[in-house]
């Protein structure tokens, strides 16, 4: 069960494609671990409002809130606000007020910091790192952003560091007119072609932006490297969340390969919405009980369920095979939605099944 996967872990990253139930899985893991006496914070992004309410979260905020759950430990939750985290980072790294204002007031920063592709991913990592540093929680559970590129967030810190080290930034931050002198004639040609393609204003603005950013690059790179180190740390565990549908299985397998390539600590798979069914039903008994027309409809319904259950079993067997039989937990396809603590407890029953040794059951009320 999940508690075994997470023994001695301090960070859990729930990853997977959109729509597979990452947010509820992250919340249920957090609740289950809090029920086991740990002080847990779940960091989530834009959950359904009712789930937010059930967790006691305000509409939006970068602050943690204690969830009023009856558990032995503590359950905290927060929603990530990428733009605000970004602003806070600038404030933190800026050497002086003038630099801070220059960046925060820069047109490019303002237009893009909330919409930047990858910024949400990076900021989630950043906040995770910050909370881990502060050490106020036994366990942090991160619900990763719903990106189509499930791995953007892994690469985000590395990409930022690479960019800071790159000549592109030096090109813009070097003194003199757009750093032309630094790169000599070759760059001069590149620059003039670039100007032709983009227009001079855009280059000038970008240059201003990167120049004001320049004084902070050391701090940013250092930070990005530490965020990266945290992801690969043995105290971190990646949990892959998937649905049993073929497209999700494909993404999960791809994701797992990337985790392995990046040498990141993988704990196991949670398969949500798994259809289950038993053997064929006794038609004669059904007809006796319900009459022929209704029995036929019930049988039809059941056969439909059984076909889906068969597909799910096949797909999950395939995923197990491709992942080299890594641990996997299945949550059935519930006929109601999970949007309160009761629903999360129901999920916990599958994620933290009672072992024969008599481990405590989750969230007893």
């Amino acid at each position: 069960m999940i508690a075994d996967w997470l023994e001695r872990k301090e960070v859990v990253v729930c990853a997977g494609a959109g729509g597979v139930g990452k947010t509820t899985t992250a919340a249920a893991i957090a609740l289950g671990m809090a029920a086991r006496g740990r002080k847990v914070a779940v960091l989530t992004i834009d959950p359904a409002k009712r789930l937010a309410n059930a967790l006691g979260l305000p509409e939006l905020g970068n602050e943690e809130a204690r969830v009023a759950a009856d558990v032995d430990g503590e359950l905290w939750a927060m929603m990530l606000d990428a733009k605000r985290t970004f602003d806070e980072l600038i404030e933190w790294h800026a050497p002086d007020a003038a630099t801070r204002d220059a960046v925060l007031g820069n047109r490019i920063y303002r237009e893009l910091s909330s919409a930047v592709a990858g910024s949400q991913e990076y900021m989630a990592m950043e906040k995770l790192h910050e909370l881990h540093q502060e050490g106020r929680y036994d366990l942090l559970v991160l619900d990763t952003p719903p990106t189509r590129h499930a791995l953007d967030f892994i690469d985000a810190p590395k990409q930022l560091a690479a960019f800071i080290d790159s000549r592109a930034l030096q090109f813009f931050t070097a003194p003199g007119r757009l750093g032309l002198k630094v790169f000599g004639r070759g760059t001069g040609v590149v620059f003039s072609v670039m100007k032709r393609a983009t227009g001079i204003d855009l280059l000038q603005d970008l240059s201003d932006f990167f120049r004001s950013f320049g004084g902070m690059t050391e701090g940013f790179r250092d930070r990005a490297e530490r965020v990266n180190a945290l992801l690969g740390d043995s105290r971190t565990a990646f949990v892959l969340v998937t649905s049993p549908r073929r497209d999700s299985i494909e993404e999960a397998a791809f994701f797992w390969h990337r985790l392995r390539e990046a040498d990141l600590p993988f704990a196991g798979v949670v398969a949500n919405r798994v259809n289950r069914a038993d053997g064929p039903a006794d038609r004669a008994e059904l007809e006796r009980l319900l009459g022929e027309p209704l029995a036929r409809k019930v049988l039809r319904t059941y056969e439909d369920d059984r076909r889906l259950a068969e597909r799910d079993r096949r797909n999950l067997t395939e995923l197990r095979r491709r992942l080299g039989r890594k641990p996997m937990l299945e949550v059935p396809n519930l006929d109601h939605e999970v949007h309160d603590l009761g629903g999360l407890r129901e999920m916990c029953a599958y994620l933290f099944p009672v072992s024969r040794a008599g481990a405590p059951q989750t969230g007893a009320e």
Partner: protein, 309 residues
């Protein structure tokens, strides 16, 4: 909905996992059947459309996947090269700039560049006169856009860049693309949802964001995978009454029927909530019990769309 397919560009978006690609394919098939040469563009390195039709993908190349229906998966790197070539009117200069490490770093780091070149390529597919990537023109371009938040970011990229660049070629082109996207006569937006709480919430938010950020409105909301209502009220009562009393050999079947009834009730409530909150027509598509979806299922959905739109 005939009006929807009379536009030049239809953007299909919605929360992850709701079946955007399947719906985009069904819309494309419907348009192609009506005699329109149609292309469905996938983005963000996704390429699921060809597999739906039992074919392997050709990536950035525009290929016919069914009579009159074409597909491609837009590769931002390729789109960037094409744009540079068009922009500089010289493949030598474009190659030089494209190979420049400074330019590579810059465009990798400058936020939103991939979105901008992707939407630019989509825009081009919807033009009567093509600028990049080919000369074949289409009557309709459909884009299988990224999930809600990223979908809006994609639509907003041209305006953002037009504002940042202010003057010059990027400002001019981005402004033109934005104008096209925001023009309701030429561009339509379809939201795909599931009859569940989170997708319904996201759909409502999407409508509000489109209006607030882009001054655009949804043309239609398609609620996908809606369960059939197989049992009437009397039958549902009957099933509830025998619940748990049947012999073991029929109990799983009874439970399956009752479970479906509970699911149907939840779904019905979510569809009703969506209808109340949304200011676009809401249409439903049936849940298909086929284990995997293929050309036959896409065809069936396209016929459902034909009846309902």
């Amino acid at each position: 909905m005939a009006k929807l397919l009379d536009k030049r560009l239809v953007v299909v978006t919605g929360k992850g996992g709701v079946g955007k690609t399947t719906v985009a394919a069904a819309l494309g098939l419907l348009a192609a059947r009506a005699g329109k040469r149609t292309i469905v563009a996938e983005v963000s390195e996704q390429e699921h459309l060809p597999a739906l039709f039992g074919r392997s993908g050709a990536g950035h190349r525009e290929v016919e996947i069914s009579p009159g229906l074409y597909g491609l998966s837009i590769d931002p790197a390729r789109a960037k090269e094409e744009w540079l070539r068009h922009q500089l009117r010289s493949s030598t200069l474009a190659g030089m700039l494209g190979n420049s490490r400074i330019f590579q770093y810059l465009t990798a780091a400058a936020p939103g560049v991939d979105e901008l070149v992707t939407i630019g390529r989509i825009w081009d597919l919807a033009q009567l006169e093509r600028h990049v990537g080919g000369t074949r023109t289409y009557d309709l371009a459909i884009v299988d856009a990224p999930a809600t938040g990223h979908g809006v970011a994609l639509l907003r990229a041209p305006r953002t860049y037009a504002a940042i660049a202010r003057v010059g070629p990027i400002a001019r082109q981005a402004g033109r693309i934005h104008e096209f996207i925001a023009d309701h006569a030429r561009t339509g937006v379809v939201a795909v949802a599931l009859p569940e709480e989170m997708p319904v919430n996201e759909t409502i938010d999407l409508g509000e964001r489109l209006r607030a950020e882009m001054g655009m409105a949804l043309d239609a909301i398609l609620v996908n995978a809606v369960y059939p209502e197989r049992f009437d009220t009397a039958e549902a009562k009957r099933l509830a009454a025998v619940n748990g009393r049947g012999p073991a050999a029929v109990r799983p079947a009874l439970e399956s029927a009752l479970s479906e009834l509970r699911r149907v009730r939840g779904q019905r409530a979510e569809v009703a909530r969506l209808r109340r909150a949304a200011d676009a027509p809401v249409r439903t598509l049936p849940f298909l019990f086929e284990p995997e979806l293929g050309a036959a299922e896409v065809d069936r959905l396209s016929r459902e769309l034909e009846r309902r739109l």
